[in-house]
Subunit: 379 residues, 2 copies
């Protein structure tokens, strides 16, 4: 038990919750969890049921360290990354730190911005994963049994059963088309990839060395540094030299020893306004209202007024968000595509700012720029 | 000519342009006219083609005097009303002032918040109305030939022809239902009531005395005061004692000597976002954009971003307005009903303000209150 850690990945930018989410206050810091708590705070509450605060490491973007730290109970370590390099390098770096602290160290990886309500079931499944990871040289993934033909999640196809709700992994798959997702659902062989993992640091780094030796090599300067301050300092040089790659691509799709536990808990990555709304209590006409929201003759709308009034008249199945001095409107079934309009809006703002500064910069450049910014974040 | 005046009625609150319009910056002050000018400024430009600035009197709400005056060229007189009492008392009071200045005074009444593009035709029709009013004891109204079965305007049924495009008035009618409006349109006997009038002060006050003696009596303390400052001071006591009534109800529906000129100019009262949008240049997909508006995959939408970004994704036939820290969304064909949601939003804001002040005030009370405020304005 003393060798267990939790790594919380809190570097995402949550573009799909624009304009509520902003680069300086991304999705994991918004009060999207029950009781008006941030998703990060809710994630930490779950982590604290597994390990003490001192065993929790939160990795986030360097410019978010202060606001992330405000959500953390005393003892939790928060470290800033100088650049986003996706989950592969981040998990590899954390594994190096935990290994330096103890050769038997194991850790769970938890994204900071997902929704899980059944904490007791979550703790039981994670406990089971830790035990499995501590006894065998395996990489444990958590997969949520699908409840619909979702096209916004990656899927895990399970292979041979090793016990109740625990299987070898046959394959990881990309976000599927609707008809493929429907087939996955029907087959019963697929689970949603929750992005939650448990393994020993040593086992993970061995797998990384085998499947992605260049990345393992790039992380080498971190080896053996057990002092957190020294580690964070070195991380500033190491991370920029790493390729940007997800842990799925870097390790899980290649390793032979990957298992999946079919989660007994509910799970959602809250990837859009509609995903969030599904978990909120609706009014009698099915509207989900937050903040200063005013609806007249509306059905099944999501209306959010933060720092101002959002008013909707006579609408159905719409998203209306007033926040941070901007407004987003789209159909509920389009809310996964908010990035398309947020990028255009931010490009517009950037080009207006450039115009004010007297520099000439095309909107096209600004779009590229903002897309690039987005790709630095973990997704 | 020296006895001609123009009275501009600029007391409206323009609730239907919420949240862009606010009590302190109502519709007539918004840049809704071509070239980004305010409707009031455009109205004054038309008035200046009829009379010199010194012969223009603008009546508005007392708290709007400063912002209205900023739109006025030097010489124009701006007076504040302590309470809104609709058009009847306002026109009666102005008639008293003009009469005190000259027994032969004639004046045109122009709402400050309407749209007219063909200024030359407007000037020709007004000139004709002035000449008629100066030669006969008649009350001239201007009526716009209807271009569609509009249900948001009052109509004038024309009677016997007295000349080209000039008729006796057979009747004034309320805003009709759609099928009635269609019948009006087909008959060719009806004109839209533009709220533009021309008459001699003496003739108007005689008609008021005949049809609404109590109101004429209430205005009596203003008689004979030719000094503007003294007049405005007295107005503060007189107006609150007057009933609130439109000039149509108070005079025009009862007087036997009312004529109508079928206008040769275009006219719209811009009573809604959709009415305004019809006069704006659309983008290639029919969207009307104003300010910081961002649309992706939208058709025939009205998107306004004032002091912030309004972004719409994948919408058709919608109104999206971000202004003054609030957002309005509705279908384009519902934009005449914005008052329903603006009242709810303002009630909500008022009850939050009350809650902050620690007083208990129900939202219902606030609604009543804001409705009452609205009815004080000229419509």
């Amino acid at each position: 038990m003393p060798d267990r850690h939790v790594l919380v990945l809190a570097g995402g930018r949550g573009e799909r919750f624009w304009p509520w989410s902003r680069p300086e206050r991304p999705k994991q810091l918004l009060p999207l969890a029950p009781g008006g708590r941030s998703l990060l705070a809710a994630t930490l509450t779950r982590a604290l049921r597994m390990v003490p605060a001192e065993r929790i490491l939160v990795l986030t973007a360097r410019d978010l360290v202060a606001s992330v730290a405000r959500e953390c109970p005393p003892g939790v370590r928060v470290m800033g990354e100088p650049v986003g390099r996706n989950t592969g390098p981040a998990i590899g770096a954390a594994a190096a730190l935990f290994l330096a602290e103890s050769p038997k160290a194991s850790f769970a990886v938890m994204p900071a911005d997902h929704a899980i309500e059944d904490e007791a079931a979550f703790v039981r499944d994670l406990e089971r994963a830790f035990v499995a990871a501590e006894h065998d040289s395996v990489l444990l993934t958590l997969g949520a049994p699908p409840t619909g033909p979702e096209t916004s999640f990656g899927y895990i196809r399970r292979g041979a059963a090793l016990g109740e709700r625990i299987h070898r992994v046959a394959a990881f798959t990309e976000k599927p088309a609707r008809d493929v997702a429907a087939r996955y659902l029907e087959s019963g062989d697929y689970l949603w990839n929750c992005g939650i993992f448990v393994w020993r640091a040593r086992v993970f780094l061995d797998a990384l060395e085998a499947s992605r030796p260049a990345l393992a090599e790039a992380l080498q300067p971190l080896a053996g540094i057990a002092d957190a301050a020294a580690f964070e300092k070195r991380l500033q040089d190491v991370l920029p030299a790493c390729e940007s790659i997800s842990v799925d691509y870097a390790v899980l799709e290649h390793a032979p020893n990957v298992l999946v536990i079919a989660a007994a808990f509910d799970w959602d990555d809250l990837g859009s306004w509609s995903a969030w709304a599904r978990r909120q209590p609706p009014d009698p006409r099915g509207n989900v209202l937050f903040g200063r929201a005013v609806v007249v003759d509306c059905d099944r709308c999501v209306v959010v007024g933060e720092g101002g009034t959002a008013a909707a008249l006579g609408l159905s199945d719409m998203v209306v968000v007033h926040a941070n001095g901007a407004t987003l409107t789209c159909r509920l079934d389009q809310s996964e595509n908010v990035r398309r309009v947020s990028e255009a809006a931010r490009a517009r703002e950037a080009s207006e700012a450039s115009a004010r500064e007297g520099t000439v910069k095309s909107a096209q450049d600004s779009v590229k720029h903002s897309v690039k910014d987005g790709s630095q974040a973990w997704r």
